[in-house]
Amino acid sequence: MRVTCTVNGEQHQADDVWEGESLLYVLRERMGFPGSKNACEQGECGSCTIYLDGVLACACLVAAGQAQGRGVRTVEGLGSGDELATIQQTFLEAGAVQCGFCTPGLLVAAHDLLERHAGPTDAEIREALAGNLCRCTGYEKIMEAVRLGATRRATAS
């Protein structure tokens, strides 16, 4: 089967997709977007978090065919060119990354939060990131990065 969808603003096509493939596999292995990670494959860990038509979804739970004609945004599409998105920059500055496996999913989820809430409370940050598990950091640095991201966006606007 052929799957055609927009990924990070550009039209992409994958051929010979077998019917039971997840969108995650198609993105990573067929379309060249390995940013979204494959960890639990069960919708639990959030490392495969993407935007699908502007709302967050776990790419591991979406059938490839269900992305046909739709818009996908992955971690690779958060920044523009060589310029990192604010949240990517603040993850670096806050030291919110250790092994980095959870990071792409957390970045997409945190990006979505800051698009929806200019100044989220800690409780709102925790709620927004509740579907993203990190085995390394203990989350404090991640909280710090999101708070910093919110402040940075507020001062920039």
């Binding site: 997840s22 776990c58 059938a63 989820a109």
Partner: protein
């Protein structure tokens, strides 16, 4: 995850049901575990059903309506509307899962902790079922789910929608949910509703029990009356890692008393 056994994903309107088929709704359960028995998925989105329709008779929820669409909807000033958010939040998955998971998928999966079963059973929802050859039948959601992972769908049948009657939507409601851990899968959900017109009370038990159980009273029965009716109903309590039957029974009694207390004071 990838489902290597699947050889075809077809438009649900065109597929003629055969063994090895499954209806594909949000896919959040289908794609979350291996499906060795399945070879084909029939995608229900092809029907293009309107997610939610409000009418003077109540609310029609398409099977393909997502939990996110339901949670976002602004309803008329129905007292029972608050139950929608409470039940959506009772799904263990994050809001990312809400964005994709459907009401119909949740009901047909028939897990005891299916929050859309809790919601629609508590509001006397009626499931519209489409059979092969155009047959349509209707079953109350409370009877539709028959046990853990079991429902009254026959091979080839699909759930088209659930109708929530206006009378139930206008009731005051009380909601209690408990899990072994703070954000764990529901071990008990008890929902009460009280009619503003005649004071009648309906208490619906889900999650703790293997299938929905409804206790109906013409007027609030008092704690002893409630516990006696609950004992007479003799529900079967579910047994899995999310709670032992004896514990589920104890918390169900407690939550039912709390619900009664809340609704009695209205």
């Amino acid at each position: 995850m990838d489902l290597p056994g699947i050889t075809e994903v077809a438009d649900a309107r065109l597929g003629i049901w055969r063994p090895g088929d499954a209806w594909l709704a949000g896919g959040t359960w289908l794609f979350s575990e291996p499906q060795p028995a399945l070879t084909r998925l029939l995608d229900l989105h092809a029907f293009g059903w309107t997610a939610l329709q409000v009418s003077p008779d109540g609310l029609d929820i398409a099977a393909t309506c997502t939990l996110a669409e339901l949670a976002r909807q602004e309803f008329p000033p129905w007292q029972a509307a608050s139950l929608v958010g409470q039940c959506c939040a009772a799904l263990l998955g994050s809001f990312k899962v809400w964005n994709t998971a459907t009401v119909g998928g949740n009901i047909c999966l028939a897990l005891p902790a299916g929050p859309m079963i809790s919601l629609t059973a508590a509001l006397d929802g009626v499931a519209e079922i489409w059979g092969t050859g155009g047959a349509v039948r209707r079953i109350p959601v409370a009877d539709f789910v028959t046990g853990p992972g079991r429902c009254r769908l026959r091979p080839g049948e699909l759930l088209r929608s659930v109708h929530l009657p206006i009378g139930a939507l206008q009731c005051a409601t009380a909601f209690r949910q408990l899990s072994l851990s703070a954000l764990g899968r529901s071990a008990a959900v008890v929902i009460g509703r009280r009619s503003p017109s005649d004071g009648a009370l309906v208490i619906t038990l889900t999650a703790a029990t293997t299938r929905p159980v409804q206790l109906r009273f013409p007027a609030p029965p008092g704690p002893d009356g409630l516990l006696a009716t609950l004992a007479a109903a003799a529900p079967r309590y579910h047994d899995d890692v999310h709670g032992a039957p004896a514990w589920r029974e104890a918390i169900t009694r407690q939550l039912a008393l709390e619900v009664l207390d809340e609704l009695e004071r209205l």
